[in-house]
């Protein structure tokens, strides 16, 4: 579990920054170019998966503990719901694009445009990235926990027969 060879560790320590930046770019420019919160969030999570494969689970656990990841997950969901409720309060309907309609129209093809859409993209990206990281982290750290020595070979034996 302590990771792969030195070559993989060196290359992935360079590449991880580029992957993370690309994910942020995909999220931030989601309303202008192909992409968006979901794809960008998955790319953010995959940069951590690269770290997890190259350096081992402990390294990632020290960098981004699962408690912080779950807080980020909840923060993304909360921001998205908050945008919806702000649309209800300020714009009249649930999920109304109040920023574009009233306060900040912006020019098309500019980064600041589309009203609440970039903010919702950021919230979705945060949420998807953190939750996929949590799922993969839970899958990677899953171990058989219980009466190990006697029951486990027996269970495997029956599994092979079936």
């Amino acid at each position: 579990m302590s990771g792969m060879t030195v070559i993989v560790k060196t290359v992935s320590s360079w590449v991880k920054v580029l992957i993370f930046l690309f994910g942020i770019y995909i999220i931030l420019f989601g309303h202008l170019t192909p992409g968006g919160g979901f794809a960008g969030g998955v790319i953010l999570a995959s940069s951590y998966v690269l770290l997890m494969l190259a350096f081992g689970r402990r390294f990632v656990e020290e960098n981004l503990p699962s408690s912080i990841a779950s807080k980020l997950d909840c923060l993304g969901a909360f921001l998205f719901a908050l945008l919806a409720i702000l649309g209800l309060v300020l714009g009249g309907t649930f999920f109304a694009n109040f920023l574009y309609q009233r306060y900040l129209p912006g020019e098309p093809f500019e980064l600041v445009s589309g009203g609440t859409i970039p903010l919702a993209n950021i919230a979705i990206g945060l949420k998807v990235g953190a939750s996929l990281f949590l799922v993969i982290f839970a899958l990677a750290s899953f171990r058989y926990d219980g009466p190990t020595s006697e029951q486990k070979p027996a269970a495997q034996g029956t599994g092979q027969k079936e």
Binding site: G30, P34, G35, G36, V42, F80, G106, N121, L134, Q156
Partner: protein, 183 residues
């Protein structure tokens, strides 16, 4: 059109290999090949958003599956199929095939969706007024975060529930051990 048929044959062959092979790792790689073909198909159909999401999720899922396959000892499937199960699956597949042939006649032509024929439908309104309604130049984003944001809210809820389920079921220590470290 020839390209689509080549991709389709490639995906069908990969799917058959994924089902038929005994080696679990080869099956996982074949599933990845199916996803890659699907992503290429979306790209040639001018849907870069879906192609990007497909390839990214596919790569991530492939990594998880390969990791789960390699770390287990049981990578070779042994055992024969039951006769009744094979007959039942062949009959069901034949029925689905017959129903599909009937449905095939009613399908619109490839590349000409039903909604594009009528000008007053919602999809045509999205395409026509998407930029002035929302201000976002990527029309896919303007649909799924503005017109149909309820859908995205539901998707976020589904993901949230999935994460809760995964972290609860797959936690590394049982509840008794967390509460009572002496056990």
């Amino acid at each position: 059109m020839t390209l689509f048929y080549i991709l389709l044959v490639f995906m069908v062959i990969a799917a058959i290999i994924a089902v038929e092979t005994k080696d679990l790792l080869s099956a996982v790689i074949c599933v990845g090949a199916i996803g890659f073909g699907g992503s290429l198909m979306f790209l040639f159909l001018r849907a870069p958003d879906i192609a990007m999401t497909q390839i990214v999720v596919e790569v991530l899922g492939l990594i998880i599956l390969i990791r789960a396959t390699i770390s287990r000892d049981l990578t070779f499937i042994t055992g024969d199929r039951e006769f009744v199960g094979t007959v039942a699956s062949v009959v069901i597949l034949f029925l689905i095939f017959m129903a599909g042939m009937r449905i095939f006649d009613a399908l619109p032509e490839f590349g000409v969706p039903v909604f594009a024929r009528v000008p007053e439908t919602a999809s045509q309104a999205y395409i026509a007024r998407g930029l002035e309604d929302t201000g976002a130049t990527n029309i896919v984003t303007s649909i799924y975060l503005d017109y149909r944001a309820y859908d995205t809210l539901g998707e976020a809820t589904v993901l949230f529930t999935a994460v809760i389920g995964a972290t609860v079921i797959l936690r590394s220590q049982s509840r008794k051990r967390l509460e009572d470290p002496e056990l």
